[in-house]
């Protein structure tokens, strides 16, 4: 188990973005249903991805970490793709999403967040003994002595 407190700030940011994107998607859909279904669906999808990442990071286990990494990679792909699409053709989706303009409506945090998250996950490796136990590899000598 990796140190639970290490990713708490990321959990907080992801939870906030899940809330912000979810509320935005629900309000957009409720106020103007059918006006821009793709944009609204994308916002709700982003909210779901943020929620999955927050929960996975909070669990702080090896499967949780893998799940968080997958969510962040999907998130990064989404923000790059939607950002490029909406920059090239601003009216394409009919309404703004969380990822429009690479997240410019949210201070570009949607673009930075998966990069920071992936960096944090890479930096915070699990203790050698646990990793070796899960993968079947031999732990380094220092870990075996400990």
């Amino acid at each position: 188990m990796m140190h639970r407190s290490a990713h708490r700030p990321l959990v907080a940011v992801y939870a906030l973005f899940a809330l912000a994107a979810g509320a935005r998607g629900v309000v957009q859909t409720a106020v103007a249903p059918g006006a821009a279904p793709v944009a609204h669906a994308l916002t709700l999808t982003a909210a779901l991805i943020y929620l999955v990442a927050a929960i996975a990071l909070h669990r702080a286990s090896a499967p949780g970490r893998r799940c968080a990494r997958a969510a962040m990679l999907i998130e990064l792909g989404g923000v790059l793709m939607i950002g490029a699409l909406t920059t090239a053709a601003p009216e394409l989706l009919g309404d703004d999403t969380v990822w429009s303009g690479f997240g410019s409506g949210y201070g570009w945090i949607p673009l930075a967040l998966p990069l920071v998250g992936l960096w944090a996950l890479r930096r915070r490796r699990e203790p050698a003994g646990e990793t070796a136990g899960e993968t079947g590899r031999r732990a380094p000598a220092a870990a075996r002595r400990a």
Binding site: R4, S5, R8, P9, A12, V27, V31
Partner: protein
């Protein structure tokens, strides 16, 4: 709703975020608990935001209407709930740098929500 109070509350929240961020990066002198001044500042901010929310609800009861009622109501609930939930989450850790960063994130979010609440009232 007073725009000046919103600006002041947002500035105060940003100050708390800076203080919490500073606590996260400076060398720790004590471990195991978030700083009492930081928590007291969050309490004061919560009191200000709650007072503002009550004043806004009284204004609505008196016949005033926000420009975007649904979005405004969401921000109103969030403006009151954010600090208690965030502080509770931060206090659930070991009181180290990560928990100070959590407080910084929550205080920054409170500043944004405060300004958005004002914007959705006046738009």
């Amino acid at each position: 709703m007073s725009p000046h109070l919103a600006t002041a509350a947002a500035a105060y929240a940003i100050l708390i975020a800076v203080a919490a961020g500073w606590r996260a990066v400076r060398p720790l002198r004590e471990a195991g608990a978030l700083g009492a001044p930081l928590l007291a500042s969050c309490l004061v901010l919560e009191l200000v935001l709650s007072g503002r929310a009550i004043a806004a609800l009284l204004a609505v009861a008196g016949g005033a209407r926000p420009a975007e009622t649904t979005v405004w109501a969401c921000y109103l609930v969030l403006s009151v709930a954010l600090i208690p939930v965030g502080v509770r989450y931060a206090m659930g850790g070991d009181g180290g740098r990560a928990d100070s960063l959590v407080l910084a994130v929550v205080a920054l979010a409170a500043a944004v929500v405060t300004l958005r609440l004002q914007a959705t009232w006046a738009e």
